[in-house]
Symmetry: C2
Subunit: 257 residues, 2 copies
């Protein structure tokens, strides 16, 4: 690792969100920071890529001493453009995504543009970490997590594990209790119970607007949902291999008989 | 299982694509079919959901004797609307998604609206299968896979496995060789090597358009990529749990030391 690693920062809340500014502030203390992030909010875009439309990229001067670009596409588009176009002649040592305004624990990883950007970087062979704060507010406080974020990033940069790392890090909302520590976890079990608000537009046509609440299922101490409920930062090592290995043999039997 | 199971059909190529018409044709021989599918192509939308815009739903009469709705959202939106709004008072026994025009083998599962729709159904506790054909053409031939698709669907409907099934089924393109059989596989290792075509719009502004080719890494007989290259239909049992269990202990050590 070089003395000043090259760190790519992206997010899904858009390049003007406070979360990414906080992540850039922290990463500048560790490495050389470059930014490619969406020019508009991209929450819930999951691993979407833009195939049917052209992508626009503009250099922006909104972070002090940081080379930054805004992109018209999704978070995954941003990472692809960073790797293959904007910084194709430079070696990116780490990709960090976030800090997301809102949880990406449990199954939220699937919907999360923040984590999908990190996963895309890991597919490209770049160690990557998505950071999310359990506070949807635009005015969220981030500083209570500073020292933890710096420790996690330094550990990943300093001591390489085998394969490319992909970490889903979720951080409790700021509170009097403070952060209790860090837990390495598995993804917890929970789901969204959707409600669709039905209404009528000014022309008299129906529309639906997605709403809902996240419901955690029963979960033990080993999960990210438990860790967060109990004041810990959760870290889930994640993978792009979606094979359910436990079902391979039962399925062979099912389809043979 | 009822004599005539209720089968929800969706896709990501849009409700007018030939692939979904072929899947509906087959499912009508097995059960009562209902359709909720996007009103426009949604390839590459992954697990995206629509949070910032209203969703429109319209009943359409384009499939003989089939209740069908087109939706302005993503494939995952379609499944959420089907489950929570349109058919909220009925029990969906199975969700099938596709037949996709193009492969969703290997890591393509992440980008695939077809497979994300199936995964969303499985999160809702509905057994689900995504079908994809390795032929991007609008005029693709589907009939060579008919008997295999019917067998797979009947097996999942007839003989319940534990948990909700989520199967990623990919089908070789029609050829003189014919289909060699069915293989239960793990997800193969490969990635997209992107090229971004740079051009200029009529106003003189630059844009990029994503292109590229899928590169398979070295893979053994156990993977979907191998099966498809050798003329087999591949079935990968898939999961929404993205935890990389192999990294939990190394990561505990890394962050402790």
């Amino acid at each position: 690792m070089r003395d000043r690693p090259l760190i790519l920062v992206t997010n899904d809340d858009g390049i003007t969100a406070p979360g990414i500014a906080n992540l850039i502030r922290l990463m500048k203390t560790i490495g050389n920071v470059v930014v490619v992030a969406p020019n508009s909010p991209q929450s819930g875009k999951g691993h979407a890529i833009t195939l049917e439309d052209p992508l626009r990229v503009h250099s922006v001067d909104i972070f002090s001493d940081v080379e930054a670009y805004e992109c018209s596409g999704t978070p995954v588009d941003c990472v692809k453009l960073a790797k293959n176009v904007i910084f194709k002649d430079r070696t990116i040592d780490l990709c960090v995504s976030g800090i997301n305004h809102g949880s990406n624990a449990g199954v939220n990883i699937l919907y999360s543009g923040t984590m999908s950007a990190a996963m895309e970087a890991s597919l490209e062979g770049i160690d990557s970490i998505g950071f999310s704060l359990l506070d949807y507010s635009f005015d969220a406080v981030f500083e209570h997590a500073d020292s933890f974020i710096l420790s996690i990033v330094k550990a990943v940069l300093d001591k390489k594990l085998s394969g490319s790392q992909l970490l889903n890090v979720n951080i409790p909302k700021n509170s009097d209790r403070g952060i209790q520590g860090v837990k390495i976890c598995k993804q917890g079990d929970g789901m969204w119970e959707e409600e669709f608000i039905k209404s009528e537009d000014p022309r008299g046509n129906d529309y639906y607007w997605m709403s809902g609440k996240f419901v955690t299922k029963k979960h033990g101490e080993a999960t990210d949902l438990w860790a967060l409920e109990n004041g810990y930062i959760s870290i889930v090592p994640s993978t792009s291999d979606l094979t359910d290995y436990s079902q391979i043999e039962p399925l062979k039997y099912l389809l043979k008989s």
